[in-house]
């Protein structure tokens, strides 16, 4: 302290390029480094630019906020607590070290003397030193994760190993250089570099000043070569995400949490759907290069969880392989058939690998868990639907039961082939007003195919209608005039049929002068809310949970807590994840139940699909690969008596799943409206 006290902090600095001569060699080496790296980036940028147009630069303020949240604050990355925290340390450590190097550059190459005084001590010495240690710790822990813990979701490549080793070596040699410089120059400010001073003291204990000076010289050049090597190589590795991830997050889809499906101009489109990289938009191609191989998408994919082929991570990585960043076979080990030797934008991608097989694509429930979890805003789901479209509309080759659903939609306007129910059977004896009998109804109750044509759901629909009557809501139904919104057609991949049904429905609702639509089906809700406006259908649409919450809030419906069962809420994907509605149903259930609400481990926007989306509810899954049974097990792991749902598809999928795996345990599945109506009726 006496020594420190004797010094004036304002004079604090160090000699830049101490011990280094012939520094011009560095600039000579920098030229090929930047050329190689620059070419790597340029090559990829050219590929992205060859993609189809996509408008992703509007609303800059929102986009900047996304970058702040997900790049600077790493919010999405931190959702995986373990890897997230250590990535955060590595991220900010590397940023800080890069700033520190820039400070050296400013001082040395531009001759601006900024490396002095308190800035030098507090930032350039202390802060940089601490952050660098954190970054090194981050790399070390991530290496242990990769080599010892070995989570299934990661991709194990030599590239990943080398990147971790190089980062560690670069930072390690950095501290050796700092420590040896402090030791040899007997730096009076050395104490401000805690890691450096430890290296300095330890080195002096085993070696003399002369040895350290020589070691410093050689290590300095070694450090430089490794750094330049990594910079040159980075654009050819997944480290490219340092550039692509922020760009991808900036250009993310702001409109729809699950990813907006593209519209097709059927008059001019060369291809209905996508079967080659050149047909994707530039954003789709950028997505491929933004992937960091973290595997979160696949780890949350319901189809993959139950052991199916579908893996959103590998769909992205295999397409990235075709975009010529890496060798396909080495990434997945599953490349079959012919692969192009070099980037071929017209190469047919469907079936190019097992991961891109038609079978895998048609296992997707379109739940969008992959899109939701991705830390770098990759839109896996729209690409899967793009390729499904090709199979459906250009090839007419897709699962038979989905074909049956599509044929039924074409012929009968609903996907439930063979149903014995009509659109109005559920209302038998209930005096539910039809649209033609009501003068200007306040809301149209859009029952949906799931709510009307499936036995089980008649009870839920009746409960909802009863609640509306109880609250004296002036509502009506379309009855036989109602047809499917087109959601299953769109998700299966028949965009043409979707447009036909949508246009017809919009026309019907306009004819009846409908303004407000109420529905208990989140799929219908999503279609009305996010997709009909693009086809000229602007209606105010509410999900029944939101509407019922409003009725209670405004005092139209009085609800004393009367349900005695313990209730857990299963978030429907198209309500929670796709549309961000997670509070309204919970509010209702808390209101109606005497017991505290139970939460499943996966809930809210991170909920796990019932298995029924994307046309999958029409498909018989293999007995040992049923998504609904997986979700049923998650529900049974709670101590709830009842699983409340807010979707007719979830109701049947969950009920079937629970009945199949519950054993002796009793667990009921009820729509939120059913829970409420039963409570009101005192059942």
């Amino acid at each position: 302290m006496t020594l420190l006290a004797a010094l004036n902090a304002a004079d604090a600095t160090r000699e830049v390029m101490w011990n280094i001569s012939h520094s011009w060699v560095m600039y000579v080496l920098l030229v090929p480094t930047m050329l190689i790296a620059g070419y790597g980036v340029y090559k990829q940028v050219q590929k992205w630019r060859s993609g189809q147009p996509a408008a992703r630069f509007d609303r800059p303020a929102e986009r900047i906020m996304r970058v702040i949240n997900h790049v600077l604050l790493q919010q999405a990355t931190l959702r995986d607590r373990f890897a997230g925290v250590f990535h955060f340390m590595l991220f900010w450590g590397m940023i800080t070290l890069t700033i520190a190097t820039t400070v050296v550059l400013i001082q040395h190459d531009f001759g601006i003397e900024i490396m002095k005084g308190r800035f030098y001590l507090y930032f350039q010495s202390l802060f940089v030193d601490v952050l660098g240690v954190l970054a090194m710790l981050g790399v070390a822990v991530l290496a242990v994760r990769r080599w010892v813990l070995r989570p299934k979701k990661l991709v194990y490549t030599d590239e990943s190993t080398w990147l971790l080793v190089l980062l560690f070596v670069i930072m390690g040699t950095g501290y050796l250089l700092e420590g040896w410089r402090i030791a040899v120059t007997n730096d009076p400010w050395g104490i401000w570099s805690p890691a450096g001073i430890i290296v300095s003291k330890a080195s002096l204990a085993v070696a003399g000043v002369g040895t350290l000076k020589t070691l410093h010289l050689f290590t300095w050049w070694f450090h430089l070569v490794i750094v330049f090597g990594l910079i040159a190589w980075a654009p050819y590795t997944k480290l490219l995400h340092v550039l692509t991830a922020p760009l991808n997050i900036y250009t993310a889809d702001l409109d729809h949490g699950g990813g907006t499906l593209k519209q097709i101009d059927f008059e001019s489109a060369q291809s209905f759907g996508i079967n080659s990289l050149e047909q994707f938009t530039w954003k789709d191609l950028l997505d491929l290069d933004a992937c960091t191989e973290c595997g979160r998408c696949t780890s949350v994919c319901p189809a993959n969880t139950v052991g199916k082929q579908l893996s959103p991570r590998d769909i992205i990585l295999d397409m990235q392989g075709l975009l010529d960043r890496s060798d396909l076979a080495s990434l997945t080990g599953k490349a079959d058939g012919q692969q192009p030797d070099e980037y071929d934008p017209a190469f047919p991608i469907i079936g190019a690998t097992d991961n891109l097989s038609s079978d895998a694509l048609f296992e997707c429930t379109t739940c969008a868990a992959c899109v939701e979890i991705c830390p770098v805003s990759i839109e896996q789901l729209p690409k899967i639907v793009d390729m499904r479209r090709f199979q459906v509309m250009e090839q007419a080759e897709f699962p038979q039961q989905m074909q049956d659903a599509i044929s039924s939609l074409e012929e009968r306007g609903h996907p439930f082939k063979g149903t014995q129910l009509s659109r109005v059977d559920w209302a038998a004896g209930m005096d539910v007003p039809l649209i033609e009998d009501v003068e200007a109804p306040e809301v149209l109750l859009w029952v949906g195919c799931g709510g009307a044509l499936v036995d089980r759901n008649q009870k839920s629909t009746r409960a909802l209608a009863n609640l509306l009557k109880k609250a004296n809501v002036n509502f009506a139904i379309l009855g036989r005039e109602e047809t499917c919104t087109g959601d299953p057609a769109r998700r299966i991949g028949n965009e043409f049929l979707f447009e036909t049904l949508a246009t017809q429905n919009i026309e019907t609702l306009k004819t009846h002068n409908i303004k407000n639509v109420l529905t208990s089906c989140p799929h219908c809700f999503n279609t009305f809310r996010n997709e009909y406006p693009k086809l000229g259908g602007n209606f105010e649409v509410m999900h029944h949970t939101t509407y019922l919450a409003r009725l209670i809030g405004e005092g139209h419906l009085k609800l004393d807590a009367q349900a005695t069962e313990k209730i857990a809420f299963h978030d429907p994907c198209y309500l929670g994840r796709h549309n961000g509605i997670t509070d309204a149903p919970r509010k209702l259930l808390k209101e109606v139940s005497q017991q505290p609400l139970v939460e499943m481990e996966k809930h809210g926007r991170q909920s796990f699909c019932c298995g029924g989306g994307g046309g999958m509810s029409f498909v018989d899954e293999p007995a040992d690969q049923r998504v609904n049974q997986e979700r049923a097990k998650q529900a049974l792991a709670t101590d709830a008596d009842t699983v409340a749902v807010g979707c007719p598809f979830c109701t049947t999928m969950m009920e079937d799943g629970i009945n199949a795996v519950k054993g002796d345990r009793e667990m009921a599945v009820k729509d939120v409206a059913e829970v409420m109506w039963e409570a009101l009726e005192g059942k």
Partner: protein, 267 residues
């Protein structure tokens, strides 16, 4: 090989029972909320024809007799790449029995030209008479093989597989002939590609009136009178459920057995 497939448009047979209505006076089903669809066995026939063309080349013509709306069935056939389509438009809403249909189809086929195989569905999902194929063969003076579910070209004829009560029969037949097609997992109708659906809207469909095939209302009256529908009604569905009383399970079983025996005896 030149194939002709006859397609019948009918009321959707999968309509929920509650939505199915009839007009007892006119002795006809009422369309109500039911859609018009192509009879499933006719779709099986078209699929069989498409598969035969894939195996041994040739052309497919589609023919329908019905109201103007039956053009939809033909458009779908065109979307599935049938080479030509012809509608004999029926202006009347009168019930057309199998004999009348066969008469009209035969006249149209004669005008359309020579065909090696004429395929019809084994029966239609509305009246389910299952007579048209045989009657058509009779009119054309051709052999007829019924309940066929697989067709293979062989030499100057075809090898047919037909369903029987006991299994399958393999039949070798010389061309030309009429076959009635039954369903099998091999001839599940495919669905058309979207682009082909769009293209089919622009393809021509030959539209003939009865007079174009030299038939008069009088001709149709002759065959029409051959069959008279006296009444048409929806059978009333009745289920009686009775719980058998008794002091013990054994008593209940005894009583149940007695009742069963009674029913068997009376039958």
């Amino acid at each position: 090989m030149k194939t002709l497939v006859c397609l019948k448009q009918i009321l959707d047979p999968e309509i929920p029972p509650r939505d199915f209505t009839i007009n007892r006076d006119s002795r006809q089903a009422v369309q109500g909320s039911a859609n018009l669809v192509t009879n499933i066995f006719c779709e099986n026939a078209l699929e069989s024809a498409l598969q035969l063309r894939e195996r041994s080349e040739g052309e497919i013509a589609a023919l329908a007799f019905g109201p103007a709306s039956a053009e939809d069935s033909l458009r779908k056939a065109l979307a599935l790449k049938a080479d030509e389509a012809c509608l004999v438009e029926d202006d009347s809403t009168a019930y057309r029995n199998s004999a009348t249909t066969a008469l009209v189809l035969a006249a149209a086929i004669k005008k359309l030209g020579e065909f090696d195989i004429i395929m019809v569905g084994r029966e239609a999902g509305d009246w389910g008479a299952g007579q048209t194929g045989g009657l058509l063969a009779e009119r054309l003076g051709l052999p007829c093989v019924t309940f066929v579910d697989h067709i293979e070209a062989s030499g100057d004829g075809v090898t047919l597989r037909r369903q029987t009560e006991l299994g399958w029969e393999k039949v070798e037949v010389k061309l030309p002939l009429v076959v009635t097609i039954s369903n099998h997992e091999e001839n599940v109708p495919r669905i058309p590609k979207t682009r082909d659906i769009m293209m089919s809207a622009r393809k021509p469909v030959t539209n003939w009136k009865l007079s174009d095939i030299d038939l008069t209302d009088e001709d149709l009256k002759t065959t029409g009178d051959a069959l008279d529908v006296i009444d048409l009604f929806i059978p009333e569905k009745k289920t009686d459920c009775e719980f058998i009383e008794g002091d013990s399970l054994d008593d209940k079983i005894d009583e149940f057995a007695k009742r069963l025996a009674g029913i068997v005896q009376s039958a």
